[in-house]
Symmetry: C2
Subunit: 363 residues, 2 copies
């Protein structure tokens, strides 16, 4: 990955925004700029060379993996990591931006830097991270291939009697066997009336697991991680023969997804594909059951800018990676969601997850 | 779970601390007070009944699962969730505490509540969450039982030639098959020289997977989640016959762990067991290779207060749940860590994870 280039681009943006120091402590941001999977803190300054602070826990990892252009400082076991970092920032001086940190840490740092200017800088980091470079796109492609394989593995074991947890076990195992670092998020396998819950059932006493039955819709939402980068795909299956109402809604979700995808291209407002999908569902009086945004950006986080929602005022740009995932949820009965991970290109969207969705009935 | 009781206790603390409103938005805190697995926002106020705001995505889940004493308000798809919540907080007025939120949201809320007093309140939430009630302890017990089963499943397939990812696949599958909601964190299976990295190898190109070999130490660190509650256990195995240096270090880690556990009891300073473990390792000149804290609290988060570290100034109390996990890491060669999840009781620590660790050589 292009760590030096990314830090140099951050410094360019710092000059534009009048920032002397940038303190990076967020896990995904550390991965982005250093390749180190925290905990740690990167201080990028116009006044000294970029320095990565790590607690003793990460010393060997930093020595082994940190790129050469970074100075690495390991704190000691009896030092408070936050204090050491704050003292270093204070000693450099100047306008300082931070990416993200707990409120208490922010207030501690604010107090220490009374003379200096402290400001949130996450929006600056997003200027960089929203647009993926070739290395990032390659990692996301592989994460998407693994997600497709995991969806295939799940699909192949769907039958009446198998439980949601059995399906999750198969998905998780396939992600690891295929070389994924981990699941991108808590895999959702939601069957029957539970499929009407977009995030699946809450795991409370007596509701931990459920066997699939004839007549169930089954929403499966999963992703894999490769080199820190996420993928995200959802398919909905039906055990047995769906009735005409389900079939009609399924077709409407497909139509909404494919209509929206036509507008996932550079310079389109992020809210526009969402509106297209919602209008398409309205043709069959289903738009009130589409209870979430059309999608989200993804990369080192599973949910990143840009938001693909009605209230989003951003514009899409080439080499953003976003999901398109319309859904319809009927309380107590069933839910349907179909989702792909898409690369925005000048020629339109490229589907990075490709598991087919024209056949969905499992008999 | 005792949601009403928890909210009532929060209100008692609010009165003590002069807080009129408490806005809860953190995922684990929402689970703690409402049983709802976000996104959402709970407004607890001395001036109105407790209200749970949810975006449309969570409307059905909130209607299905929210406890009766909560008023539920679902926002609309074309409303900005943060703005609706902020307006409601503003309209109530008074000193307002927040648990945690991104800096940009905090500043937005601060701006809106110019007349009111806005303050961080996470420490107030920890006063409650640090001490586990019976329901919480029951959930953690079950999460620990599942972790033990997953460790057993991993142990049984360890042999030369199997890869780290194969072992992870087995662990993940066993957690789901045993009724766990998910893995508590990215499972660590770190073999050979990689075992010297406390968090395992960084997943970079060409280093994604590794087959176990004769002469490898293998550190396996895993946990499961039940009803939102975490468990955490680590064992170290050796493929083949360890040499005397490894054996001696292994015995030292066991001795450090068991010595430290004697002091995991009410009213002990959290830094004390850490010092006991470190002194025990110093007897064999290994303390400089113990590169992290002795442990951490756990519950709805995998890392919570109290910190069990040299710089911790807290005291242990009955019904806290903490880990005890000394380790020794020799760069380029091997690492050893042994960890259990412990319940603090008046009679001393109760081990909730129980996989035995006296035998560790796999032949």
């Amino acid at each position: 990955m292009r760590y030096r280039e990314r830090v140099e681009r951050l410094m360019t943006l710092m000059r534009l925004h009048g920032i002397d120091n940038f303190l990076v402590t967020g896990r995904s941001n550390l991965l982005y700029f250093t390749g180190i999977d925290g905990p740690g803190a990167l201080l990028v300054s116009t006044k000294r060379s970029p320095t990565l602070f790590v607690p003793p826990l990460s010393k060997i990892a930093a020595e082994t993996y940190a790129p050469d252009f970074l100075e690495v400082v390991a704190t000691k076991i009896d030092e408070r990591f936050n204090v050491v970092v704050a003292e270093n920032v204070g000693s450099v001086g100047g306008a300082t931006a931070v990416d993200e940190m707990p409120l208490d840490d922010y207030r501690f740092l604010s107090g220490l830097l009374a003379q200096a200017e402290l400001r949130p800088g996450m929006s600056v980091v997003w200027e960089l991270r929203e647009i993926k470079d070739e290395d990032e796109i390659a990692a996301i492609r592989r994460a998407c291939e693994i997600a497709d394989r995991a969806m295939r593995a799940a699909f192949e074991i769907l039958y009446p009697g198998i439980t949601e947890n059995d399906v999750k076990a198969e998905i998780a195992a396939e992600v690891y066997r295929s070389g994924g670092e981990r699941l991108a998020f808590d895999v959702i396998v939601a069957s029957g009336p539970r499929s009407a819950l977009p995030h699946g059932p809450l795991q409370r006493s007596g509701e931990h697991d459920r066997a699939l039955r004839e007549g169930d819709a089954v929403v499966i939402d999963l992703g894999a991680v490769v080199e820190g980068y996420h993928s995200d795909v959802t398919r909905t299956f039906f055990i047995g023969r769906p009735d005409s109402q389900f079939t009609s809604a399924y077709e409407a979700v497909v139509a909404a997804k494919e209509a929206a995808e036509q507008y996932i291209k550079p310079d389109t407002l992020c809210g526009y594909p969402d509106a297209v999908a919602r209008n398409k569902l309205a043709e069959r009086a289903l738009s009130e059951h589409f209870a979430h945004s059309l999608g989200h950006g993804l990369g080192l986080d599973i949910h990143e800018p840009p938001r693909m929602s009605p209230t989003s005022s951003e514009k899409l740009a080439a080499n953003m990676v976003v999901t398109c995932e319309p859904g319809v949820y009927i309380k107590g009965r069933w839910g349907i969601r179909i989702e792909d991970t898409l690369l925005v290109t000048e020629r339109g969207p490229e589907r990075l997850t490709r598991f087919e969705y024209s056949e969905y009935a499992v008999s």
